[in-house]
């Protein structure tokens, strides 16, 4: 249907977005890869103008060999895994609940979704002070009320605290997407199963859960990509101490605090590879959906 003329017009209209994004991707990426193979310590006078000393794979070896690398991988996996488990499980349950008829559905939905719109620095600070402060936080009040000793959450249970804060931010996202998916479930199928006397649990297991399979996969993939790079939540709460230094935060510290650009860039390349492994799976699903 499209003519030759409209095709070239289309290409012309697409050009700015494609060229700009290409530049945005390639220029910084090339620089990071380049830096990662050099000795680059701006504090000691290294600069691009004076020429950077090529050191091969030294930074890559040192980044992995450093004593903080494996703990940071562990922290990343625990935090991402913990948040995923909590948000997906609670998200499914909450979506099923919100799909039931009850009074005030609209308002409850708003209450549940609200945390997603709170900026990360605010949610981190609100949780750190208003909720988790060992003296005046709400949890401390609650603990005292039940006669327990208040916990200083962010130092004694730091990783769990970060997981809690981030889960609170992302639970609305999981719930909303799963709710959208549940609403597309054919209710006649459920009714038929109910009439046949299938118990609630088996209806959930054999009808609802398989139907949600794709939505759950998408929630997991998208959240993983965002969770791998959480930053503000750690920046304003623990600053990476007490075992909350994730891979992203470790790279941030290498680049900004210790100003070791070569080493930080090598870490950055690792992070980019890691994110891309997850991204490939997400793209497959999204791509399949495009063909429909």
């Amino acid at each position: 249907m499209a003519t030759q003329h409209s095709r070239s017009a289309a290409r012309f209209m697409m050009a700015p977005a494609v060229i700009l994004l290409l530049g945005w991707m390639l220029v910084p990426l090339t620089m990071t890869v380049w830096f990662s193979f050099t000795r680059y310590l701006p504090m000691r006078g290294d600069s691009i103008e004076r020429g950077l000393e090529w050191v091969g794979f030294e930074n890559y070896v040192r980044f992995i060999g450093s004593s903080s690398f494996w703990p940071s991988v562990q922290a990343t996996l625990v935090i991402v895994g913990g948040v995923l488990a909590i948000t997906v499980v609670l998200g499914v349950l909450l979506a099923i609940l919100l799909d039931q008829p009850f009074w005030g559905q609209g308002i409850v939905r708003i209450l549940v979704i609200a945390p997603f719109f709170v900026m990360p620095t605010v949610s981190a600070l609100v949780w750190k002070n208003m909720m988790m402060d060992p003296v005046n936080g709400m949890l401390a009040h609650l603990w005292r009320f039940f006669g327990a000793t208040p916990v200083s959450w962010l130092s004694e249970a730091s990783v769990q605290s970060i997981i809690l804060i981030v889960s609170w931010q992302w639970l609305p996202f999981a719930t909303l997407i799963l709710l959208t998916a549940i609403q597309s479930l054919d209710s006649e199928q459920l009714e038929a199963a109910e009439m046949d006397g299938a118990p609630v649990l088996s209806r959930f297991w054999h009808i609802v859960l398989p139907h949600l399979g794709r939505a759950i996969t998408i929630v997991i993939l998208i959240q993983t990509i965002f969770l791998l790079s959480i930053f503000a939540e750690i920046f304003v709460t623990t600053g990476g101490s007490f075992g909350t230094r994730t891979l992203t935060y470790l790279i941030f510290q290498r680049v900004v605090d210790s100003q070791n650009i070569g080493l930080g860039s090598a870490g950055g390349v690792y992070a980019i590879i890691l994110a891309n492994i997850v991204a490939i799976f997400l793209m497959r699903i999204v791509g399949k959906n495009l063909d429909k």
């Binding site: 990071t32 009074w103 209450l111 600070l125 208003m130 709400m138 009320f145 639970l171 997400l282 793209m283």
Partner: protein, 276 residues
Amino acid sequence: MARAVSTRRKIATTALAWAIGLLIFFPIFWTILTSFKTEAQAIANPPLFWGFDFTLENYAVVQERSNYMRFLWNSVIIAGGSTLLGIVIAVPAAWSMAFVPSRRTKDILLWMLSTKMLPAVGVLYPISLIFVQFGLLDTRGGLIVVLMFINLPIIVWMLYTYFREIPGEILEAARMDGAGLKEEILYVLTPMAIPGIASTILLNFILAWNEAFWTLNLTAASAAPLTAFIASYSSPEGLFFAKLSAASTMAIAPILILGWFSQKQLVRGLTFGAVK
């Protein structure tokens, strides 16, 4: 046919759903409530849910001491500017991909999505170097450009999914009636595309408003938006519960209100059309 639900079951569901909803919302509620207390009452033990002296003083102090309005203005300019710039660049691209698709359209869309997945920390230093080189550090212009790039893939995707829903037959009908390309765009397509464009603007404004990696790392004083303003309260000397609450309330209130309008767009925008 709607399933018949017993009233008793509905009451139970209502109670449970409200309890969970209020529990999830509690940190936000508590922050807003505390922002109207005096500092002494904010840390009262046991905590005060009612019976405190309602005061607006914290809001006045926050504005006075840290010039809240300036950060707010920076947030508005940066989030608004990056979104509009993104729209200007994305509309033609999404348009052509939706109406004149080629064999490569799918690959281009997926590639755009992949740029979104580049971890920011991996390119932090190159970007700051470029910023220093061009004098963009701590400027609103610089942040507008960066946030535009961050959200451009989402903007293109959202617009693409909206435009694809506009039936092509309408265009053909308009052409039959003798409409030229200009009339076609102005009178037929634009009115149909506006709701989609508005939703895209809304969601991306929110995303840009809340962005907290680049805004924290590329600003110091003059271009700092609300994300950075709030982060400055994490230092111990800034630790006053009532004032922190007032500052937080002011930072999130505009976006909470906008956010409630954008629930539907959220699903579409952040799942790239994979969940509808």
